[in-house]
């Protein structure tokens, strides 16, 4: 048996009273793809930050190729052969690929020889690993998938042979993700070691050789991928059995609730972000909008929620809604029966400094039940909050905690409880389970389906294709501000949706039209 290329022994790290990593040990074999899976806040990112020199561990040792190393900063990590591809790329937008790769690794004060050397090396790296990129392309003009390759090349150029990727597929289409996995496979074949951090079980099963599961700062299991199953991994992550698929009965769509015709949105820079979208959502159905982040879905939700003006026509129960923003905002939308679970709960859906009971009124704070004249009826609010928190199992059930003191999943439950309990005619839902633990995902999905079954119309926007497939009764795919097509979830495939998400309208052979 070979020796591990990377070994962590007894790593602990605390942030104040919070222990992010508890006595973590990990062995990664050379030439493998090793997955690290865990819910948000399980300590994955902290562990990797220790490995890359962003944090110092309180205790424990790190061994690379059998040698104990001290990783004080990222330079030390690079010297030890560790490269990192962050979730949010760290590229200079208006530099070329080549300039970005050389940046920080120049040989001398003169740039020209460095660039020439890099160009040669880049060609051989590209050939070796199938990472074709144009060295003279400017970063802001190439796609996200290509930018990620540049990040990988940056690490390889710095002689990394242990490559850490943090949630690499979050911004990719399924097709781009497949390409990435092919590249990772090629790296493995060439003897490099890859550590893949993700919360997506599918990716773990698809590409890794072995997988380590983290839960609440602890390493709860390290297994060979071949010997495990998604169900077992999910159970290890959450600490109890979870349903990966929510059961739902077929939709019984009623009358059209929301009708959108030729909606157009132009942002502050004058760029058109939504280019003539038309859609209809009926009572008792969930229309899912799939798409890679940044293709106009956010703007669509914001317009419907009254957060920004637009042109076109939007009708609610047949009656026109003012889109200019002069006579209609979030408040008037709510009065029309539109609930809104926004994409970003921390910046929009909640005031993080407010108590839970203040947040439960947010957006509905002028409801007569919450007020005595100009004064707010705090007792009524707190009673209402306690009831909603109990029904939605928000933990801890304490309405005197500020939103910041709840975990992501419980924050989202507060938002969802607030919007659903008003019994909206139409519920706008953006990324309902982003940064939410598996247990809460299951709960929120069930609530959304229950609301649908009660006759509400739901417009769901999500970048998680699994979520769209699991919840939607119809799926529309958005690309570049337009709807590329509409599909039935049981009559389409991830591959077909993936092509639509990438802007290709041709049907895939084998997929039902």
């Amino acid at each position: 048996m070979t020796d591990p290329v990377l070994e962590l022994i007894g790593i602990s790290k605390s942030f104040g009273p919070v222990q992010a990593n508890k006595d973590i040990s990990l062995r990664v074999m050379p030439g493998t793809i090793h997955g690290i899976i865990g819910e948000n806040g399980a300590g994955k990112s902290t562990l990797m930050s220790i490995l890359y020199g962003f944090y110092r561990a309180d205790s424990g040792t790190i061994r690379v190729r059998g040698q104990e190393v001290q990783i004080a900063d990222s330079q030390a990590a690079i010297a030890a052969g560790i490269g990192m591809v962050f979730q949010h790329f760290k590229l200079v937008e208006n530099f070329t690929v080549l300039e970005n790769i050389v940046l920080g690794a120049e040989d001398s004060a003169w740039l020209r020889p460095s660039l020439a050397r890099a160009r040669k090396e880049l060609r051989s790296l590209s050939d070796d690993y199938g990472l074709s990129v144009d060295p003279d392309a400017v970063i802001e003009e190439i796609g996200v998938g290509m930018q990620q390759r540049v990040e990988i090349l940056k690490a390889l150029y710095r002689r990394a042979d242990i490559l850490i990727l943090d949630e690499p597929t979050g911004v990719l289409t399924p097709a781009e993700a497949d390409q990435l996995f092919r590249i990772l496979g090629r790296l493995r074949a060439e003897g490099k070691t890859v550590i893949l951090i993700t919360h997506k079980l599918r990716e773990i099963m698809e590409i890794t050789d072995s997988v380590s599961v983290m839960r609440r700062g602890e390493m709860v299991a390290s297994v060979t991928t071949r010997d495990t199953s998604p169900e077992q991994l999910a159970e290890l992550m959450v600490g109890r059995k979870v349903l990966l698929q929510v059961g739902k009965s077929p939709a019984r769509p009623g009358a059209a609730v929301l009708q959108v015709d030729d909606l157009r949105v132009t942002d502050a820079k004058g760029v058109q972000r939504v280019k003539g979208v038309s859609l209809t959502v009926h009572a008792g159905e969930i229309l899912g909008i799939a798409g890679v982040a940044g293709n106009g879905q956010s703007e669509l939700l914001e317009v419907l929620g009254g957060m920004r003006p637009a042109t076109g026509r939007v009708r609610m129960d047949g009656q026109d809604i003012d889109l200019t923003g002069h006579h209609s905002d979030g408040r008037t939308r709510r009065a029309r029966g539109i609930g809104h679970v926004p994409e970003d709960r921390q910046r929009e859906g909640l005031i993080m400094e407010f108590f839970a009971w203040e947040n439960v009124a947010f957006g509905y704070h002028d409801a007569p039940a919450y007020n005595h004249g100009p004064l707010m009826d705090q007792n009524a609010l707190r009673n209402d909050t306690a009831a909603k928190m109990a029904r939605f199992d928000v933990r801890p059930n304490n309405c005197w905690l500020t939103a910041r003191n709840f975990s992501g999943g419980n924050q989202q439950k507060i938002v969802v409880a607030r919007e659903i309990e008003r019994n909206p005619r139409l519920l706008l839902v953006g990324q309902p389970t982003r940064g939410v633990d598996i247990g809460a995902i299951e709960f929120i999905h069930k609530q959304l389906i229950a609301l649908r079954d009660a006759g509400a119309a739901i417009l769901l926007v999500s970048v998680e294709l699994d979520e769209i497939m699991a919840l939607s009764d119809r799926i529309a795919v958005m690309f570049d501000g337009q709807i590329m097509g509409e599909r039935q979830p049981d009559a389409t495939t991830v591959q077909e949706l993936g092509l639509l998400m990438a802007g290709m309208t041709g049907t895939v052979p084998g997929a039902a039209a």
Binding site: P17, M307, D329, G330, H340, E348, I351, E353, H365, Q378
Partner: protein
């Protein structure tokens, strides 16, 4: 999880800041050959040792409560109103007009009129920067600072060209008629048989300031408007999501802020000077910023901080008077307190938080 208990944030932190400011002040005094212990004694005795001292301390404190509340209200909407000084000057014009234009039969009605007039004038002066911020995005810090200068120049013009009575050289308004003179503490306490120095300027406006502090508390923490102001202050995108109009919040909170700053002039113009003079606010608008910072933008904190600054003002005056210390030295001491309690808050906060964390860990 909070990093340290609330009492440490509210009580301990300002106290440590104050002690540090005091320690450095002591060093400065030592360097100039003054015994700091004796100096502190003079300050305490001068500001708190007699009813006259108290009367001055609370008179200054009244000014600072109004201007401190003004800064706090705007700050809850995340607006930094630096224009308290100018708004107070305009409020002074309002008070003067109210007192001179109408022959009031009794001070109580005159007080009511003066409060309304000062609030309206102060609010109007805050309205222009607020409108520019809400509609044009002009930064409120810049515009309110500019408006202080304009207010000063405007007051200058009014006093020299318009309000100055004929035949008088000094740029000041006519004296207010005796009917509008506000009762001072000596007058107010006499019916209860409590003797109070009649020369001290503290007057009925102090009670008005306490009432204002209470009403600000109700506004910010009990009303729907206060809820919206705080929501907007914490997160503009959040407010947009909830359908809270940013324009409306900016305008309303600045109007209230300007009104509070303007009302300060009821104390110093109507209650003390009993006429309008140049630069009547004497920097109290700026002290309000330090008071609001130290008071954590809470009315109770603002009142306490205002009394502290009243003490520093009165004690400082006694210091320069009795120990022959140059007034600049007194200004240095006041500046050190502002520096430590306001600006350097974070410097002390970080180590204090760490101390509490290690304490908690040791206990666990």
């Amino acid at each position: 999880m909070d990093k340290m208990p609330k009492w440490a944030d509210v009580v301990l932190l300002p106290l440590i800041s104050l002690l540090l400011a005091g320690a450095i002040s002591a060093l400065v005094l030592l360097a100039t050959g003054v015994n700091p212990v004796a100096a502190l004694g003079v300050m305490i005795d001068g500001a708190l040792g007699s009813t006259r001292g108290w009367g001055y301390t609370l008179y200054y404190a009244t000014n600072f409560i109004f201007t401190g509340l003004a800064v706090s209200v705007a700050f809850h909407a995340r607006l930094f109103n630096i224009g308290g000084e100018g708004q107070a000057l305009l409020g002074a014009v309002g008070v003067t007009l109210a007192c001179l234009m109408i022959p009031w039969p009794h001070w109580t009605i005159a007080l009511l009129a003066a409060v309304v007039a000062s609030a309206l004038f102060g609010a109007a002066w805050a309205l222009i920067p607020a409108w520019l911020q809400a509609k044009r995005g002009s930064h409120i810090v810049i515009t309110t600072i500019m408006f202080n200068f304009i207010a000063g120049a405007l007051l200058n013009y009014l006093l020299v060209e318009v309000m100055k009575p004929a035949g008088i050289m000094e740029p000041a308004s006519a004296n207010f008629p005796p009917a509008v003179h506000l009762p001072n503490f000596a007058d107010m306490l006499a019916p209860f048989g409590i003797p109070f120095s009649p020369e001290a300027p503290a007057n009925v406006a102090f009670l008005l300031a306490l009432l204002a502090a209470f009403l600000v508390w109700v506004l910010i923490w009990r009303t729907r408007l206060g809820y919206e102001i705080r929501a907007f202050g914490f997160s503009e995108t959040g407010a947009r999501y909830a359908g809270i109009s940013g324009t409306r919040i900016i305008l309303i909170s600045m109007l209230i802020s300007g009104a509070l700053a303007g009302m300060m002039s009821v104390n110093n113009v109507m209650g003390e000077a009993e006429r309008l003079v140049l630069n009547s606010a004497e920097g109290a608008g700026f002290i309000g910023i330090a008071v609001a910072l130290m008071g954590r933008n809470h009315p109770v904190g603002v009142v306490l901080a205002a009394v502290l600054f009243g003490f520093l003002y009165q004690g400082g005056a006694q210091l320069s008077f009795q120990l022959q210390i140059p007034t600049e030295m007194v200004t240095i001491i006041q500046a050190l307190v502002i520096l430590f309690t306001g600006a350097l808050d974070q410097m002390i906060r970080a180590p204090l938080e760490r101390a509490f964390l290690s304490l908690r860990k040791a206990r666990a």
